[in-house]
Amino acid sequence: MSTLTVEGLGLRYGGVRAVHDVAFSVAAGEAVGIIGANGAGKTSTLKAIMGLAPRTAAVLRYGERDLNRTPAHQVVRAGIGYVPEGRHVFPGLSVENNLLLGAYTRSWRRISFDQVYGLFPVLAEMRHRLAGALSGGQQQMLAIGRALMSQPRLILLDEPSMGLSPKLVEDILAVLKRLNEDGTAILLVEQNAKLTFEVTTRSLVMENGEIAMTGTSQALRGDPKVRRIYLGL
């Protein structure tokens, strides 16, 4: 069973410090949330873990795998799936090809779409459509489905609720809960704190690139300080 361990994580864009000295861990099968206002460093934290941005870290490992020494395109092979902010599906390719690319690290010979089509039946209907022609909600489902195709044991999600209708947010929420119940660990980054608290057992609150608070989602839900950090009062 693998634990994601992060210690002393830092990331800069040019001279700007986006993330500084962040430490946390996600145990196997656990669901952890990172909440915070715009520009708090949540997205940068995920990108740093995935190796998609130049970062420094004292410890960055997933189970046996030292992510500090893992090139970005190998991170998925460690068992980590990534749903980027703003979906980032491959617009000019069909839904099915997008899903196949999610399984890029596996053999395509005996690939099954059953799990993804089971979670998101609409994707099965749209499988020959170009991903760029889907609605925002469908693209979000496709982005999650694509990440699942690698059969990850840990999935990093960046703002999956962004720009979706309340109904769709509910659907996504249900899927995330189901995945977690089936044993997939989740690291969920959100501005939508309410959604985060419903899915996760533990959460971090980020502010100005650092972790301002940590606690169980239950406790943070009622904490007035969380509101203060959020609204910047």
Binding site: L52, G92, A131, A133, S150
Partner: protein, 289 residues
Amino acid sequence: MQVFLQTLVGGIGFGAVYALVAMGFSIVYRTMGLVNFAHGSVVMIGAYTASTFSMAGRLPFPLAIAVAIVVTGLVGLIIERVLRPLEGRDFDLMLIGTIGFGTVLEALAILIWGATGHAVPSPVAAAPVDILGIRIRTYSLVVIVVAAAATVLLALFLQRTKRGVAMQAAAMDPQAATAVGIHVGRSNAIAFAIGAGLAALAGGLIGPMLYVSPTMGGSLGIKGFAAAIIGGFGNIPGAILGGLAFGILDSFAAGTFQGYSELVVFVVFAVAIMIRPTGIFGERTVNRA
């Protein structure tokens, strides 16, 4: 009527070669967003390699072209490897780097083959074939068939193979492609090698139609580039259509305007691009996400 059809087929023959050059430009552009200004020179190296191996090396013509494809493919890999550290950092320097490589390749060609160039005999019987009363150069038909076959192969590779689909993904969204496990640098290298291979095929095929010289890359490169632009840059069907349009226009202009034909062709090109700046298949509407 007969003259018209003969001019048309001749134009399609040249157009097929321009299409190959344009496809080389396009495949590198759509994967890396980079215009490879060394492409014309790679065509020239391909033409020299193919003609040298078939004339001096006495290899059969198809085999000589295969050798040329391998040689220029390696050249493409070298260019990509040298430019890779600049990828995503300094785009202007990458462009200038490709211009530099073009100059280097031209100088290399002069060192190896001399500055004067040579003529290449046609690899097939010179007698034209008679189809429904129209006399067509046999070699034009060969060129059209080979170019069409290469195009079909490339399309199958991009649409049906795992590597091809991954290359398209890397072109559309390098970060998302990296996150699903695609080595984007390797994908770019393959695009460069395929582009160079297409250049060699174009160069090898056009050798017997033109005179092979160190400066031939300039005009072929410009025409292929223009063909890619008119088709919608980065779009493969567009490159084919643009190449054919250019070849046909070229051959009719040559018959009517003789010495001014190049001028006429490029004026038409400039007007077309002013009317439709995205080219025939401008992809702007597809990339919605």
